[in-house]
Subunit: 127 residues, 2 copies
């Protein structure tokens, strides 16, 4: 296993997910050592959820997992770039393809992104 | 000024720089509130250097500044994506275009990136 500098940032390393076809940056989340090792071994991206304080297999609820196409690490061994095949097209829990669907324009933001699903349909109660 | 969630991560927010033409992810570094405001106001990317513990205008030594073409923020207001025109082509202090010039292959890494300059020529002592 390639060794990363988990100590530098208190055990969590930023990981950027990029669509392997379009090059669109989909999201950024953190990996701890366990999620890093699982990502490399399984070929499915795992993060560490800071809000839930637990291992997070991306797409475990929605089914929108991220299949690893390529993993790159940066010059300092403290950041990860994963090129992924985003199953279900959308990486963001809001239903947008990318979490970066807002462009900063002066004092406000403008939405510029493709919305694939309605979160209520995916995460909401079954009717 | 668009408000970001600097408190969530102790004052520092990850910022991803992406080449606005090629879509290549160039680097990831952190911004504090001051560097965020300077980036938005000046149109030149500023980070916060954790190793030097000070404001860091990217390219201040090498001249390879990053001109802002577009700024995006993520769904949680705690990550920034900056599309930049990378002056001098290379973002990495090693001379590579991108800091992510190593691909993980099994137990090791393979270099896959374009090297633009020799760091000794840029940062080294003048002869």
């Amino acid at each position: 296993m390639v060794e990363l500098d988990f100590e530098k940032t208190g055990g969590l390393i930023p990981a950027i997910a990029q669509d392997y076809r379009s090059g669109e940056v989909l999201m950024m989340a953190f990996m701890n050592r366990e999620s890093w090792e699982l990502t490399v071994k399984t070929g499915i991206v795992h993060y560490w959820s800071r809000s839930r304080n637990r291992l997070w297999k991306k797409g475990e609820s929605s089914g929108n997992v991220q299949e690893v196409k390529e993993i790159r690490i940066d010059c300092d061994n403290d950041c990860i770039l994963v090129k992924v095949d985003q199953i279900g097209e959308a990486a963001c829990h809001t239903g947008y393809v990318s979490c970066f669907f807002r462009v900063v324009e002066g004092e406000t933001t403008r939405i510029d992104g493709k919305k694939v699903f309605d979160p209520a349909d995916v995460y909401g109660e079954k009717k």
